[in-house]
Symmetry: D2
Subunit: 265 residues, 4 copies
């Protein structure tokens, strides 16, 4: 049983950023048509439907106690699904650090969606700015192409599927080279973007999925739901290798072949 | 339910290669102590024990009908586990081709053990000679180190474990850069070898695991059994992406945005 | 001084394949407008211009003695640039094998262009079918996006540039996961294709570049010339690591720490 | 002409960390035998010797003005070679940030040596703890094995060479999966460590090389000197792709096919 927690910014709150705020207000009607109870509820419904008895899915938000990321919430989470957009700056450094440590030290899976690329935990885990050079908030289609048909996250997904309306981003996206590149998207203007990317950090597995602007119905789409469920399964580590990342000054030292004796003892 | 098939050279037959034959005869007592009914039986027992109700495991050998790789055998196999050593040259080109195509076109998983590195299917899938520069058939230990603690194949495996007796091989091993490097081994003389390597080819996943010389008890060891079961689970693709690798002259052509119309239609 | 050899099918000869032949005949006027003396001459001119005193560039073709790939030609080649399309099947197995061995065993660089993806040497080095699922011989643009701005092959190349007319191919292209993915292309219909891919095999470096259909002026374009010159520099190994891929039965054996004594002796 | 700058902790100053300080005092005689004028001087001498007219090499230290990393120093640096050990905590956040931004945004190369793995810039660029599980400050040999004989950094390096005396570290080392793995080391006790690792971040190339404890003569050794010179050449980007990582809110928007018009205009 995989315990998945969907964390999101609740959509009722607007960003403090003037440009983003203006955008969100203009789109308020569309946002609330697609996600009347918040985007996390629709993502959660999709996972419940796809995972069935394999998973137990709950939700939490930026406006909950301890920004929805209290230690006990994370302790009960095998895979954290993260959606954020306009309020990335509001996340406390402490909450970001807790997420990062759960991934690296305990092997918690992390699925980051859309503008969560610029969230504090993802940027810290990547080591890059995670910015995109160009974007267009218009009425593009996004065609999602599978370039890794043998990957667990593309199981059951067609060689290409189309999200009818999405925000466009294009390369270069300033992320590290993905450990696995699963999907590449194209947009109506001919732009492209690596849109399904796997990374490993410490004991944890991370999947970044680009689509998911809140003004569009993306998380209602069957292929997207299947991909998120595949990603949750892939990111789940029931028994991570017991490697511990000790403070080196406490490390064992001074003997040859210690590991052989330990293995025998 | 994963259908795993363990394919091996039966150990009663000796290699036609004089050097190998001499070696095998000298070791005959040890081989039959560890693997009285053949190495495939012990590998199969380990998988049955580890996979339980998750798997259905059968065996087949080079000396069986159609070299144990008849089309109907492969058609009923989700993951093929491959052990070969002295008789790699005896495999027919047709049987090798069938294995290669099942991996690439149908997504059959392939787990290749020890000297199976030099088998025809593995060499064809890699595109390299798959030879190792130096080897030593002595009485080394092999220490297997996990360098990917977040990988599905290292789940439950310690940061290092020791196989008390193994054949030594050292780098450079002429394989492509692995898509995932999971284990690196060291030997009593200070040699090292990349020993757990994942590759993707077409729709299929391939795992190469280095240990497994027939004169040693390797496949009786708990960690090795766990790794092989992890690898079988990892290599299993229940619903590969339906990408088809068409002959290009039969491909669809001549229209813009065909994929959008297909997606809508 | 890098010794580059440009090998190509001469364009005067037509393919024996009826579909290809019909296509080539229909395009004969365009082909001879762009490449009146053969495509290899234009590729060669571009390299001469870009490399200047760094390189010495020569040409050879499928219709030359020993199919242009005589041992002495290869022995005098540091980097082989390969263009082929309609006559891939005509290459002898012996010539293909010579190319493969020069790459793997001697570190000859190999730059494969366009339909050279289906040539014998490239397919053998990759271990996959190297086929593409869909293609369109129309009048697409090809937009080439840089996804590795830190790579030697993208030096001086804009984040995106456009080839006004090219043949379209789209994913899934059946190649292994590239060791470095440098470029991704989009086409007028919204299709995408990984179009600049690095691979390592043995001691050699391989770069695959997708554009280059003979009916288009691709090899006259400044960005393409720069990319090919960057690729030749990247693929050149003046002093490859002296690893030798010995036949294992001739390998040194039987002693612990042989490499330490050799290093000291 | 590559402008390389060697930055190091000067060895006269001792760490504030009690354990490290005790160690350094015990080793003071050995340190000053090998590096009487500081470790940066020996690294610099090696680069000068190897690069000849290809490079211009200078040095700077933690005790220099602005910790040796003033903006004008970095602006005049194509490749920064970094050695630090006991005083990683003393680096200011501002200096670390300057180094990180030069790598990502301007394509400055970065070569990180030994305990520089735990320096602030490297940890920020990696996104992991960069800690090692076990270490031994004894009298191990370190055997350095080449696993990428086709890589620019292993050019001219034997399949294995031995550093007679080094500090031991072993896996798991908490770094991301390297983009290229060039060397793996083994130690006298049978431990192993990935010891030559390439990473890409933004426009910059990073190479991590593990050997280099200050009590040992490592940086006097010919193979190490060659590797560092190879790495400086590899990390140098004379004309990085002009991708700029704009603040997304200033990005161009609102038009289809902008890149095609720009390419044509």
């Amino acid at each position: 049983m995989i315990r998945a927690t969907v964390w999101a910014e609740p959509l009722g709150q607007m960003s403090a950023h003037p440009a983003l705020r203006a955008l969100q207000e203009a789109e308020r009607a569309r946002i609330f048509t697609h996600y009347p109870e918040g985007i996390h509820r629709v993502i959660c419904d999709g996972l419940v439907h796809e995972l069935g008895a394999e998973g137990s899915v709950s939700t939490t938000t930026l406006d909950d106690c301890e920004q929805g990321l209290a230690p006990e919430v994370l302790a009960a989470t095998d895979v954290l699904v993260w959606w954020s957009h306009g309020r990335n700056d509001e996340l406390s450094d402490e909450a970001a650090e807790r997420v990062v440590r759960c991934v690296r030290e305990r092997g918690m899976g992390l699925i980051v969606l859309h503008s969560g690329i610029e969230s504090k935990p993802f940027r810290q885990l990547m080591g890059t700015s995670c910015q995109t050079e160009r974007w267009r908030h218009g009425d593009d289609y996004e065609a999602v192409w599978t370039v890794a048909p043998s990957h667990a996250i593309s199981e059951g997904i067609a060689p290409v599927f189309v999200i009818p309306h999405e925000e466009m981003w294009c390369e270069f996206i300033d992320i590290p080279v993905p450990d696995d590149l699963v999907f590449i998207s194209s947009f109506a203007g001919g732009e492209i973007c690596r849109s399904g990317c796997c990374f490993r950090r410490g004991k944890g597995r991370i999947f970044y999925f680009r689509p998911g602007h809140e003004a569009h119905a993306t998380f209602h789409q069957a292929e997207v739901r299947r991909i998120l469920a595949n990603a949750v399964r892939w990111a789940y580590t029931p028994a991570p290798s017991p490697a511990h990342f000790a403070d080196r000054w406490e490390g064992k030292q001074g003997s040859l072949g210690w590991f052989q004796r330990e293995a025998i003892d």
